[in-house]
């Protein structure tokens, strides 16, 4: 709200007092007292002055009867003013005599602790998302550290903080945790969490209702602004311009800004360069796909919050099979918890397998040939050697891995795998799959290798 040019100009209060003195001369005393009592300039920017009035009835009266007088009087004092807007005070002005009435009911009466109960709908924060429930693993260490740094020096160290990563990797959790932390530990700070889509809708509505200035003020009052999924305002010229100005206003006043998106700011399509530059001007942290250890840790943390426990081997199985999306992982766990409560017994690996059948990465139309092509390419061996009867070591191993991946990842039946890979017997395929499965348990480099291959196949 503090404008850089404000200092050179008259303060809002002075301006309005001077205006009122002149208006008073030109109107009758009763009329002046009735219509101009409890009015105030609440905001002034560029060339618009916003006047707060006690009620809508007064607002409409002033607009209709005194608008010209107010504007012309204001202009005699400050000729840069072009427009006057009226708004109703958020709450009625407290008449002086009321303050003393029924003097503070009874000081010895205890009162409710209401202060902590204002869950301000305006900040949109979900109290569920806190740092306590945020699982930190190697994959999100950087983003987490950056967020913590923001908490220590808001508006200074990393401004803006830009978090990006695919859906379900915990961006929203992390940025909401920042907001919740501020809300809890710095009650004086005004925090707003908003999705970019909501921001755009607010902006459009304010333009339609003709009070764009209200919109500006509303957003500029925050000490911490958190905007989720900025990619959704791609190609919205005016909204982006508004965000640009808002960004500048907040940053100039050392207010912390946090963004999240699904892409690196420089790769965001449909954004103006000046905005991209500003996104990238602070700290950028990626939250990539969680690694298997982190997934295990996340599963354990989630189970704990459910007050539920399942055997280690099943946790490992889930961590191996449901990859990437933490949201999906959560869904699977909810399903497992629900199912086992329903059945009233501990759950077996087979149960889990049937439960998560649909959550396994679906075969996104990747053909067996495609898998073979990619894996052969990865190991740098001729594709057709996979289909041949050759038992060269360089070929046998990739072939087994292909079989394993086809089976585990795409649920292809053993006989059809055998058939497709050069007419092998299904027992050969079973043997290969078992062998790789056993080896993964002892050989972590193989595990990483297979993870890479999976990513490679799904990356198509």
């Amino acid at each position: 709200m503090i404008n850089s040019v404000e200092n050179e100009r008259m303060s809002n209060r002075e301006l309005w007092q001077n205006t009122l003195v002149q208006i008073e001369l030109g109107t009758s005393e009763t009329s002046f007292r009735t219509w101009f009592r409890n009015t105030d300039i609440v905001n002034r920017d560029a060339n618009t002055v916003q006047i707060a009035v006690p009620s809508k009835i007064v607002k409409e009266w002033l607009m209709e009867k005194h608008h010209k007088l107010i504007l012309s009087t204001l202009r005699t004092i400050d000729n840069t003013i072009r427009n006057v807007e009226y708004s109703v005070h958020r709450a009625p002005v407290v008449p002086a005599e009321h303050k003393a009435s029924r003097a503070a009911a009874s000081p010895e009466n205890a009162s409710f602790d209401l202060q902590s109960l204002y869950i301000d709908k305006r900040d949109n924060l979900n109290p569920r998302y806190t740092f306590d429930t945020f699982v930190v693993g190697p994959f999100n260490q950087l983003a987490h550290a950056a967020a913590k740094a923001v908490l220590d020096h808001p508006g200074a160290t990393y401004n803006p903080l830009f978090i990006y990563g695919s859906t379900g990797h915990g961006k929203t959790h992390l940025i909401q945790a920042i907001g919740n932390h501020f809300k809890k530990n710095h009650t004086s700070k005004k925090v707003l969490y908003v999705t970019s889509e909501k921001f755009a809708v607010d902006y459009i509505n304010s333009v339609r209702a003709g009070n764009a200035n209200n919109f500006k003020n509303q957003y500029r009052q925050y000490d911490v602004l958190i905007m989720d999924d900025v990619q959704f305002i791609a190609n919205t010229e005016k909204t982006q311009e508004e965000l640009f100005h808002l960004f500048n206003a907040l940053r100039d006043n050392n207010k912390q800004i946090v963004f999240s998106s699904d892409k690196h700011p420089m790769l965001l399509p449909g954004f103006e360069d000046r905005l991209k530059g500003r996104f990238a001007g602070g700290m950028i942290a990626e939250i990539p796909e969680p690694d298997i250890e982190s997934r295990t840790a996340i599963i354990k943390a989630k189970l704990e919050s459910h007050g539920f426990s399942i055997p280690e081997d099943i946790i490992k199985f889930i961590a191996e099979s449901v990859r990437g999306n933490i949201r999906e992982l959560e869904g699977v766990l909810n399903m497992i918890v629900c199912k086992s409560q329903l059945k009233g017994k501990t759950i077996s690996q087979a149960d889990v397998r049937t439960l998560i059948k649909h959550n396994l990465k679906p075969n996104r139309g990747v053909s067996i040939e495609e898998v073979v092509h990619r894996i052969a390419g990865y190991y740098d061996i001729p594709e057709k050697s996979i289909y041949e009867k050759t038992r060269k070591k360089e070929v046998v191993r990739p072939r087994q891995i292909i079989m394993y991946i086809l089976r585990e990842e795409f649920n292809v039946s053993f006989p059809s795998i055998g058939e497709k890979l050069g007419g092998r017997d299904h027992t050969t395929v079973i043997h290969s799959c078992e062998k790789i499965k056993q080896e993964i348990k002892t050989d972590s480099s193989l595990e990483i290798e297979i993870d890479h291959l999976r990513a490679l196949i799904h990356a198509s």
Binding site: I57, A91, P92, A105
Partner: protein, 371 residues
Amino acid sequence: MKIGTTKERLLNAILLAERIVGKKESLPVLSCILIEANDREVTLSATNLEAGVDIRLPAEVEESGVVAVSAHVLAQTIRSISGDKIQLKTEDSNLLIESRGTKTLIKAVPHNEFPALSTSVETKGIVVSRENLLRGIQSVSYAASPSMIRPELGSIFISLSTSGMITAATDSFRLAEKVLSNTAIKEDQDILIPLKHALELTHVLETIDSETVTLQLDESQIAVLSDGIKIGHVRYVSRVVDGQFPNYKEIIPKSFTTEATVLKNDFAEMLRKARIFSGNDQHVGLHIYPNRKIFSATAQSNDVGEMSDSVDAALTGDDIDINFHIGYLNDCFTSIQSDSIILGFSGPARPVVIRGVSDANFTYLVMPLNR
């Protein structure tokens, strides 16, 4: 202007409008009722700038026109008229009232500064039962703070949702909540109406006789519309508070360490006795000892003396001694229909919860005294 109407109609409308007019307004026209006649209708309006009312009543309009006269004088005049039929007309811009032999002339006030009550027709409005809205506000209004220092506490909170209507008010020393679940409302809406205007609204709701009223809300104002037979079309507008009511559900204890079930009248009578001896500060001590089956109250003051009284009660839980402000306890009785009430305590520094037996729709919380 020249109109004819019945005394009853006109008087009802004028009494409704008279309550709204500003009491200490510097602008003379604000203590007036504006009478506007056109086509087949007469509209009476009054406003105190924060709230306003207009009433359209059917009348024989011979000549249309506008006049503003003092609400007080007009109400007195119409009240004292004995005839059924009343004729109002302007003469030299003053108001001439004629009825069966009586003739009165009321000095009119220039009406060009009478503000129009804005019409926000954009919102389609929410239809609620008149009786529910009235009961909802009346059941909780005494718990609101009389001061507007914290606007949300000086207001009545009305929450409309698909599950019904909830009204609540608190001044941070006590809290009242009323649930009216038999009204289904299609959209969610939270409204904060300043206590003063909410009380004016209850008077309007009491006077009109329509089954339902329509609420129209915009960012700074609520309009309550009704179409009744007795008075005609009434529209009451009030400013609303743009704020957040505390999430009070959090402070309502879910379980109790001590519970007492007593007859409402017994308890009220006990408090009445205590009131005599409590002096100016109105403090009462409640002593509940479930094991010895004792539910008693004590009060004393240096000037008057002291008392102790006990009533029959069904008690469970731990022993407790706790002090309250009598007025705070008393306030809720009119809102409880049941004969018996349950008092739920959860410790010496925690609020007592008062509900009617088998009535979960009304909840009242009172904080104890600090000592």
